[in-house]
Symmetry: C3
Subunit: 109 residues, 3 copies
């Protein structure tokens, strides 16, 4: 964690920059780069995604880190994805409850 | 936004009706049809999805619009998906926080 | 419902144990095994999933059943997935609001 789920971002393009992106996000979050996961979801985008790489929708699941970190995180991800050629980027953050997050069977909080 | 994520709905069937569905939902939401996205998730449905098109699970991510709009939205989507031949339809709405939603790096609220 | 969305768990392996897993979870939840769905999401795991079956991330969508049931549910799923050869298992529970969950067009609460 944090977990990034991406739609509308080509996996092979993200792969090439995922290491540096994780390093940048690790600075924002004050954690190790090995805490992050990034998955490009396979989906048939039936409506609203016109053409290749015109729109990306990204979900971030994490424990809440406050507005400043959230804004820096969003900016970092947005800049990275735009450099991959995507024009429009929307990001939603899901704040997990620690008592509802289990790591190897044990609650995180 | 709103974003519809669908499981158990064949993409090619939804494609054929997605334009009119977006128009109907735009009326419910009082927004433009070009605000919507619809994605059919690719997944291996390992348990609980018996046979083709027997059960659809649909997630809607949006900013809360209240009970009346939510009910009309659910009814509109349910009727549309049932006309595609799906028997059981379950829909969950996720209300996004505006301060946790970023459009091209800027918070929505 | 409950709905299990799995990433990093091979579908064919889960398939083989999904019936007994649903039976175990039904006891934890005090409901029928036929209420559950399990879907293995197809995704390109670009970062943080090193090697096959080293890390699984599982999302559970349900109506809140309290800490004891949640802990037993997490333990049951974790044990099952580890027996399939996955080393690290993280599970997040999403508590749905009943007034935001629609079954065949009717709200659940």
């Amino acid at each position: 964690m944090p977990h990034l789920l991406l739609r509308g971002v080509p996996a092979e393009k993200l792969q090439a920059v995922s290491g540096p992106l994780a390093e940048e996000l690790a600075v924002v979050c004050g954690c190790g780069a090995d805490n992050f996961t990034m998955s490009c979801m396979q989906a048939d985008n039936v409506y609203g995604y016109e053409g290749d790489a015109s729109f990306a929708f990204i979900e971030v699941g994490w424990f809440e880190r406050g507005q400043e970190a959230r804004g820096q995180f969003a900016e970092t991800v947005t800049n990275c994805v735009r450099r991959l050629g995507v024009r429009e980027v929307e990001i939603v953050f899901h704040a997990y409850r620690e008592d509802s997050y289990y790591i190897n069977g044990k609650p995180a909080g």
